[in-house]
Chain length 139, copies 2
């Protein structure tokens, strides 16, 4: 039986990326430095969901990490989309697509990976400052 | 509580991409055409794992889908890595990184999304034709 394990993304800073995903509610549950391959893998997941992880690959010899159009985004449901977006803003993260509808928002990781944030269950009632907030950039 | 939902990729052909993922053992469980947005979303998952899906986005107005380095791959465990790679070859898919070690292989979707295939449980004993098969391209 086939089983999904993880999505791997390359990161230019483990610290910055782990901090970003912590705001979203993910935690680190495995770390493996590879001296020979000169990289470190860190696995992050939502609580209890370690079988559907994000694998971060940090190459010790840095390279620029540009994006492509074939990959879209990673999507997560959160308990309160306004609280999550507020927490991202407090960390200096731009809300590319604010949750004007109380249901959906988009942000980007420090290396430009698009993250879709969805309100778990029903949409929240529209509320400021989100209702008046414009889109920024692409996602 | 935060929950991972899906990874979204953009595809230039729904049929070709669904066929590709079928070889891997995934099935379609939801489809939503959006007349206004001019796109169709299709959700695929491994059996019983619909809470960790791949979302395909097919834009009705096509665009070229190039890759970027910030996204790495999607990883799946399979029951028999040799059978899966044989099935991919029968579908004309290049095994970019053959399972010479009986444990790990890489292929690419029709739009160049890298897929890591891992043998569930212990590695299989090394076997031909894989042992003698060279890498092809990048993954």
């Amino acid at each position: 039986m086939t089983q999904y394990l993880h999505t791997m993304i390359r990161v230019s800073s483990l610290e910055d990326t782990i901090e970003f995903f912590k705001v979203l509610g993910l935690h680190e549950f495995r770390r493996r430095p590879d001296e020979k391959g000169r990289y470190t893998n860190v696995f992050l997941a939502a609580p209890g969901q370690e079988d559907a992880a994000v694998e971060l690959t940090y190459n010790w010899d840095p390279e620029p990490y540009t994006g492509g159009r074939n990959f879209g985004h990673l999507a997560y449901a959160v308990e309160n989309i306004y609280d999550t977006c507020k927490a991202f803003m407090a960390h200096g993260v731009t809300i590319n697509r604010p949750p004007r509808d109380g249901r959906m928002a988009f942000v980007r990781t420090p290396d430009g990976i698009s993250i879709e944030i969805l309100q778990a269950g029903d949409a929240l009632p529209p509320a400021e400052p989100w209702t008046s907030m414009s889109n920024t950039g692409a996602w």
